[in-house]
Structures are given as C-alpha cells and as structure tokens.
C-alpha cells in the first residue's frame, strides 16, 4: 500500500519522534510513505486568525500537489489535517476560485489514528505485534482538531472517538475511561497566555490521574509538546507530582511492533518514560 505523506512543520522540528515512529510503524506493516513533493506550511492555527483567503490558499497548494500524485494523503498533525480538509472541500466546491487546474479530490485526507484503525491495517498490526505493552494503563487524548468541526473533519464520532483506544488495546495497553478525551489543552496559547495553559492542561492531568492512567497518549504534536513540556511547572503550581509520560500513539505502536531503537525517542521527552517501562519489565 502506497500513500502520500504530509509531515507538516512540527514533524520536521519539535516532533521529529512522531515522524520517525510513524515511519517505523508503516515499515512494519508494509505501508509505503511518499513524502509530498515540496509541501508548504498549511497555515496552522494562525492563517485563519488573520486572513480567511490565506487559510485556504496555503493548504490548497498542498492539495493540488496531492491531487497530481493521486494517492491517499496521510497527515499526522491534526492542525494540518483540519486545514487540508478545509482546502479539499473548498477546492471541490469551487475549483476555479483557487486554481486553473482541474480538481476532483483524488487524494482523500486521513489522520493518523483513523488511518491505522482502518480494518485491514488494524488486523495487520494485531498480527505483527511482537512485544505487547501489557500492564501499562493509559488514557487516549484526542484533543480538538482531528475531530472538530465534524463538517470539516468528517469525524464519525467527534464527541467520543474510539480509534486510538482500539489501537492501544490491540497492543495490550489497558485503556482507562475518562471524559476529557476531546477537551482542549490550550496549546495554541502556550507562548502567549501561559495562565490558560496551566488551567486547561492541569485539569487534564488531574483527570488522567483520577482515571487511573500512568501515561497519556495523543496523536497531536501541539498537544504532546504542550502536555510534556509544561507538566513540571503545573506540578509545582498544583503541588501534585503527576509524572505522566505523554506518548505519540505511533511511538507505542512502533515499540509493540518490534522497533529496535525506541530509546532515541524517549530522550526527546521531558517526562521520562523509562521508569514506567522498567516498572512493567518492558525495558
């Protein structure tokens, strides 16, 4: 199976472990990733703040490249995913407004959890697990942009997604129920209004601990970075030692599928996952 791949800026920067672990999972289950040629930034959470036109033009350029390549487009970052879905819909609605080229929508856009959760890939993952992560209790944290608004994302169950949960169960993880899986962590305000981050993310940590989780799992580079890098200061503010490693779903999938060097990813984490793995005899 061959798909086009739009890593987005984060995966070439702060979230390089997300990129590497996606490639590792794809390698293990025979998915061939072809990085979209000369892709540009989708405009993320900034373009629509300032200019509605730009918020379509930036992702539209990528969708036109994907259209020429004619394959499904895998997008790991929910911010990019939302922007590219938006451009895809606008291009289908009125192509001539944005381009002289024809546009039929030959590159359906998929987000990571929904992609790997697809029946044939989930079956393949279950088949290829060599190291189940048994005994680890986690909460799945989906956040906002991969789900909402469903008009753009086409999410099947935006208030209660279950894709990441089923993927985690497939590799032996105990998924703890909680009601915060699609609540906002505030990541887009991380440089500008830290007080808001402290409240929103702090509430998520409290809820994760209350649910009995030993770690949090996400498929969003903004959420991961925010929950991982801000955790120590929130621990100090709330006087609670959370010690919750925050994983990308693909880091855990790759580990269960026999990735040989996951340690290179753990070094990138602020909250060290190694004690958790040692504790469960997984390292």
């Amino acid at each position: 199976m061959k798909v086009s791949y739009y890593p987005g800026c984060s995966l070439h920067g702060m979230a390089v472990e997300y990129d590497e672990s996606i490639r590792s999972v794809c390698n293990a289950i025979d998915v061939d990733l072809v990085e979209l040629a000369d892709w540009n930034c989708c405009g993320a959470s900034s373009a629509h703040f300032i200019d509605d036109e730009l918020a379509v033009r930036l992702p539209a350029r990528n969708m036109l490249i994907a259209e020429r390549e004619g394959r499904e487009l895998l997008v790991p970052c929910p911010g990019c995913f939302q922007g590219l879905k938006h451009a895809d819909k606008e291009l289908k609605k009125a192509p001539s407004r944005w381009t002289d080229e024809s546009y039929e929508g030959r590159a359906p856009v998929s987000h990571v959890s929904e992609f790997f959760h697809r029946r044939e890939l989930l079956e393949k993952i279950i088949q290829e697990v060599t190291k189940p992560l048994t005994g680890v209790a986690a909460v799945a944290y989906h956040g906002c942009a991969s789900q909402r608004p469903p008009k753009l994302t086409d999410a099947e169950s935006p208030e209660n997604p279950i894709t990441m949960e089923e993927l985690l169960r497939a590799i032996g993880i105990e998924v703890r129920p909680w009601s915060y899986k699609t609540d906002c962590c505030g990541a887009s305000l991380t440089l500008t209004r830290l007080d808001i981050i402290h409240k929103l993310s702090g509430d998520l940590f409290d809820a994760a601990v209350e649910a009995g989780a030993e770690c949090m799992v996400t498929d969003c580079p903004m959420c991961q970075s925010n929950l991982d890098t801000r955790q120590t200061e929130i621990e100090a503010l709330r006087g609670t030692p959370y010690g919750l490693p925050v994983f990308y779903i693909t880091e855990l999938l790759a580990m269960a599928l026999g990735e040989e060097k996951p340690d290179r990813w753990w070094k990138k984490h602020f909250v060290d996952p190694v004690p958790l793995f040692r504790n469960k005899d997984l390292m």
């Binding site: 702060m14 390089v16 000369d38 540009n40 200019d51 350029r61 909402r148 887009s188 409240k199």
Partner: protein
Amino acid sequence: MQSTNVISPDSAFLAAVASRSDQPISLCYQCRKCTNGCPLTFAMDIMPNQVMRMIELGMRDELLRSKTIWVCASCQTCSTRCPNDIDIAHLMDSLRQLSRESGNVAEPKILKFHEAFLASIRCHGRTFELGMVARYKLSTLDLFSDLAVSLEMFKRGKIGFLPDRIKGRRVVRRMFGKRRRGTR
C-alpha cells in the same frame, strides 16, 4: 433616578460580520450551548452566547476590544454543538480580523504570535520554529520567559537551527499579496 444603559441597535455591524463570516448569525436563539461547552469562559470577558447577541445589537466597539475574541482557542466545541449550525469559532476569526483592522486589540501578544508565525511561512514556505519564536519575543519584548523550557528543548535536540526552505516559496509569498489587508 435610575440610570439606564441605552443601546441603539446598529445593523451595519451585523451585516459586516455576516458578510465576512458567511454565517446565519440571526438564527441564534440563545440556548447557550456554546457558552456551556466552552473551555475558555474562565478567561473571557464576554460569554460566547453574549457575543452572538452583541453582534446583532451592533455593539462593535465592545466586541472588537474584548479579550474573548483573542483567548478563544479555536477548539471548535461551540461550532460542533450549535443546534442552528452557526460556526461560532469562525465568527471569532471574523471578529479578530475586524479587531486587528480597527487597531484596538485587547491581547496584542496573541496577535503578535500569529503574525510572527505567518511571517515565518511567508519567508520560508514553512514554519521555522526558532526564527518564529525569536521574532515573537522581539516584537513583544518578552525575552526571558520560558528560558528554562527553551534550554531543555535545545538540550533534547527538539529545536532546529536552520529553516526548512521550499522551492515554491515565491508562490507561497504571492498568496500573501492576494489579501485584503496584508500582514507584514
């Protein structure tokens, strides 16, 4: 005598917001689902359902200089749950744009962050995290917050030192020219 705060409804503002956002604002019947589901209300000075009514009443200045429109994190919970299918999060975009144009921005740091982000895309075609943060920090003179987190990120190799520049960056730059009002 009791003083009364009289509002003279101004439909011009409603028309301006409706045309920019393409949203059926007057369908709002104040069920407050937006406000009840909003995770940011604790940091807002006007509740989302009040924003809807204030647009209808033409309370332009109060809205455009409010904190609410800037602390909205675009989480889209309101837009997902509105029974009248009004994209409230998108309305917040329209109000932010109008606020920026009016020059009366209650949360200038938030605006400067997004301007720095776009400047980075305009320059390289992709976001260059280090350059973007440096530009933001210089523009707000908020130089020393987050030093510890930044150093830790350097140590863990999470920050690249060189921008990732694309071949099509001139095409990307031209997209910025096609706009009503430019970002620097």
